[in-house]
């Protein structure tokens, strides 16, 4: 039926599919250090370049350059590296644990470790993240107990969420980590509401919303942008553009032109695009945005440009829809390798120290896992309590649930 002579419709397609050899040499990556550092009270409409370019600090050679550089102490950078390494090891072990049937499901953030760990470093206690399922780095960067994370992943008897939630949908109020939803996008506008509340309450806290590139297409992305641009509450809205939404490349959410950050310009919102695989750049831009929010200068939209190096989840096989080697071809490199190179360049790190640290971290993760497995796994128990499924839906259990709880216990 379609007449190609007058095709008046486009179905965007990624450049490379299985069988192709991915080649991103034509992708223009702006030079590190090239994008200016605007004043905190900049007029958002002046940030056009910031929404289209990519703010980068680390050069290919591991140099830190440009106006955004030099915010972190060496200790902080080393701590950041450790956090990224911890996250990666955690992901590896938990993916393996899923294969062994210890849990039903896992989601890793391999290749994207810099985004959340560097962002969290820009926050203060009391601030609140509204994360997605791929933002565990926000917890790891606060040294949240790995064992507790694993208790949740294994749905065991010490699972803080009592076995109710899918693995990785953590909740940790004391760590500024809002309960993660399985429904995409909903949390983005909730973050705006939390920030409005903080402002109405006269506190100095800020909120951070998180969303994936694919999920920016969801309606609640718009809700968040509309409410944030109207009320200008203290919120930082983060888009993690890891190029893929399950099997769907980012061109389906975005169309074939522009950037995700550019979506903010139409709302008069400060919008910046940052190299999400550059720990220093993510941290610097995040700090800038957080400080703006803190001072009441308005919301900021950040696009973190990164790459989902692994599958979408343990249920996914990315080789069915993209070339096997695509993640290696990705021009922004690996965030851990890049920070490592910089620290070595600075003379405060070395290959040995890296290996040694890797071993230490693996030890730590393995120890945590052993402890967590003692509390049970989904495979073998001990499990989260069964009849607790009737608890905590309401502050007080209504009579119909009491009746059901009784019936459930009888039908055992």
């Amino acid at each position: 039926m379609p007449n190609p002579a007058k095709a008046r419709i486009t179905i965007p397609e990624p450049e490379f599919r299985p069988g192709d050899v991915p080649d991103y040499s034509n992708v223009k990556i702006p030079e590190a250090g090239a994008v200016s550092l605007p004043p905190l009270d900049v007029e958002p409409r002046l940030l056009r370049n910031h929404a289209f370019s990519i703010i980068r600090i680390l050069t290919r050679d591991g140099e830190a350059v440009g106006p955004w550089a030099n915010l972190l102490t060496e200790d902080e950078m080393i701590a950041g590296l450790r956090h990224m390494m911890t996250l990666r090891v955690l992901d590896k072990r938990m993916t393996a644990a899923q294969r062994q049937g210890k849990t039903s499901f896992y989601i890793a953030q391999t290749g994207e470790e810099a985004v959340t760990t560097a962002f969290q470093r820009a926050l203060s206690p009391g601030d609140m993240n509204f994360p997605t399922y791929r933002n565990a780095g926000l917890l790891v960067a606060q040294d949240y107990p790995l064992e507790t994370m694993m208790n949740q992943i294994f749905s065991n008897q010490k699972d803080p969420l009592a076995g109710r939630q899918l693995p990785v949908l953590y909740s940790a109020k004391d760590y500024g980590f809002f309960t993660v939803s399985g429904n995409l996008g909903t949390q983005f506008v909730q973050a705006v509401g939390w920030a409005m509340a903080a402002a109405i309450d006269g506190s100095d806290k800020i909120a951070a919303g998180w969303i994936g590139d694919g999920s920016t297409a969801e309606s609640d992305f718009h809700s968040a942008m509309v409410f944030a641009s109207t009320y200008k509450p203290p919120v930082v809205l983060n888009i993690v553009n890891n190029q893929w939404a399950i099997s769907t490349f980012q061109g389906i959410a975005k169309g074939e032109s522009g950037t995700f950050a550019a979506r903010g310009l139409g709302f008069g919102m400060a919008s910046l695009r940052v190299d999400g695989n550059d720990f220093l750049a993510v941290h610097a831009v995040s700090k800038w945005a957080v400080e703006r929010a803190r001072q009441g200068l308005g919301p900021t939209l950040l696009e973190h440009v990164t790459y989902r190096a692994g599958g979408h989840s343990t249920s996914d096989n990315p080789e069915a829809y993209r070339p096997k080697a695509e993640s290696d071809a990705w021009p922004l490199g690996d965030p851990i390798e890049r920070l490592k190179l910089h620290l070595i360049k600075r003379g405060i790190w070395s290959d040995e120290r890296h290996k040694q640290t890797e071993a230490e971290i693996t030890d730590m993760v393995v120890t945590a896992q052993k402890a967590a497995e003692k509390n049970g796994t989904l495979n073998s128990g001990p499990f989260a309590e069964r009849s607790s499924i009737f608890e905590g839906l309401y502050a007080e259990m209504p009579s119909h649930l009491k009746r059901q709880k009784e019936a459930a216990e009888q039908s055992l």
């Binding site: 969420l161 909740s171 109020k173 309960t179 909903t186 705006v192 839906l393 502050a395 209504p398």
Partner: protein, 337 residues
Amino acid sequence: MTNMSMVEAIRDALDVVMTKDDRVIVFGEDVGYFGGVFRCTQGLQEKHGKLRCFDTPINESGIVGTAIGMAAYGLRPCIEIQFADYMYPAFDQISQEASRIRYRSNGDFTCPMVIRMPTGGGIFGGETHSQSPEALFTHVSGLKTVLPSNPYDVKGMLIAAIEDPDPVIFLEPKRLYHGPFDGHHEAEAKTWKGHPLGEVPEGYYTVPLGKAAVRREGADVTVLTYGTMVHVALAAAEEQGVDAEIIDLRSLLPLDLETIEASVRKTGRCVVAHEATLTSGFGAELAARIQKECFYHLEAPVRRVAGWDVPYPHAQEWYYFPGPARLGQALLETLEA
């Protein structure tokens, strides 16, 4: 005691809680300066300030979504959806988020909030200003759904809802805003003046959620209903000379199982009435429950009187509306069965 319309009682309830608790925040479309298209929030912005009562963009998902964030922070948002018909764009935030914040976080976060919305027909509003979506909410675990039928209840229940630790869907039968309505649309409109339930105490009081009210005691048949239909049921019983026990459920979830079951066991007969469409309406849940719990007491099938299973039509509103004639007929049929 002052005589108030439902609109005035709502306004008064909001004012009382906002004065008592500065965590209470009121917002929605046209809710700020103007005071809402039904004027339920009139005067609140002037009195409590723009940060406590304000207009929102027309995005129901955003209204509910921001309220969830505020509730998680520790405020007590009480939001207005302009018509219940316009809650659908927010149904994801209501049914998948607000309802589950406490549960999925195992109490780490909570979501105390109230979503007010005018519901029901009788004002020539056509298919998009007349709907009664209560059944949808009652199918969602984690929500409370209430639907008061008079000024006294609406004030006490709204205060209770705002103080409730969990999300409450607060449905306001818009046809009752300015006076009781028994379905006789050809008669002159009444006001709440002179109606005993139009007498509203000043200041703070609550009507607990989850308790039904027996509006008329009777021996022969139990009528389970709520909202506008309470008044229709009273008229129908009167007109047909039926000794009906008329129960105003007020709260659909939690449901006052004890009161309901005791009444049906006493009368042995039951009619369920609502304005919403029949199929999978809340009447289905009531009938299903009663036939189960009171099976050996029932002398006739539970009859349902409801809106027909079509969109609420504009011109044929009174053919659609389950008025006193239709309800009266069901009462007689149930007694004769």
